[in-house]
């Protein structure tokens, strides 16, 4: 008679926080962290790719659309059925007329939010004139 060893229980991570400088070269670090957190939960390879892309789009959006920003704060709250991610900058939100870049870049910013909404299960995007941009998004664990 063979007995299969029980599968190890997936442990809830709790919360992971990361602060990165709000500069383009650090966005890849956020992607790596997203992949690491996702792999600890029962996300598939494709879902982990989604998490990486969503995190990068969120960071890029904040970098490109906030003024006076020095850091981006990321927080992953890992629950038993859902990963909730909060991404916020420590700068001010831009006035509409001072959003950087040409029309194409503004449209690309919209494309970034579009991708986040397509890849994540819930997305809340706020621009606070005092606190800057903030995204809260979540992905449900399906496996």
């Amino acid at each position: 008679m063979t007995m299969n060893a029980p599968e190890p229980e997936v442990q809830t991570l709790g919360s992971v926080e990361l602060r990165i400088p709000a500069r383009a070269e650090w966005v890849a670090v956020a992607r790596l962290a997203a992949a690491a957190v996702g792999s600890r939960m029962r996300f598939s390879v494709d879902e982990i790719d989604d998490l990486k892309l969503a995190i990068a789009e969120a960071c890029t959006n904040i970098i490109q659309r906030s003024e006076g920003i020095e850091n981006i704060d990321l927080r992953w709250d890992a629950g038993p059925t859902e990963l909730r991610i909060t991404v916020s900058g420590d700068g001010r939100a831009p006035k509409l007329e001072s959003v950087k870049g040409a029309d194409d870049e503004n449209k690309v910013g919209g494309l970034g939010i579009f991708l986040i909404r397509a890849l994540m299960d819930t997305v809340e995007y706020e621009i606070d004139p005092q606190a800057g941009a903030r995204l809260v998004m979540s992905k449900i664990v399906t496996q």
């Binding site: 383009a24 966005v27 490109q64 194409d104 970034g112 890849l119």
Partner: protein, 114 residues
């Protein structure tokens, strides 16, 4: 976390831009510079080889869209070589699969250039 860009002349006046690595907010300017330089030199038929690209996001898509818009003003074309399902998925989600010709190999992409 870097991008390698290689530009080479191909048949006719077509040029191939081989990309390897990740295209994001940090590395996409390097891709943009390569494409812009080709267009500024009067080369409007481009094949962008994404076979060795592991990651692309909206900043990379924006660079490709910008390049396509510019070459189309001169009657040119941009075709992509991409078989990576992870990368193709991004073009599918955004609808850009209808805008760009995406091919499995360079030969097919070259043949399809206007």
């Amino acid at each position: 976390m870097d991008i390698k860009v290689n530009v080479r002349e191909s048949e006719g006046d077509a040029y191939v831009v081989d990309l390897a690595g990740e295209i994001d907010v940090y590395t996409s300017p390097k891709v943009k510079d390569a494409i812009t330089e080709l267009i500024d030199q009067g080369h409007y038929n481009l094949v962008i080889n994404l076979e060795k690209v592991r990651y692309i996001d909206s900043t990379g898509l924006g660079v490709l869209i910008g390049g396509l818009k510019r070459v189309r003003e001169h009657g040119g074309s941009v075709n992509l070589v991409c078989t990576n399902p992870q990368i193709k998925k991004i073009f599918d989600i955004t609808g850009l699969v209808k805008i760009f010709g995406i091919f499995d190999d360079e030969q097919s992409a070259m043949k399809a250039l206007v």
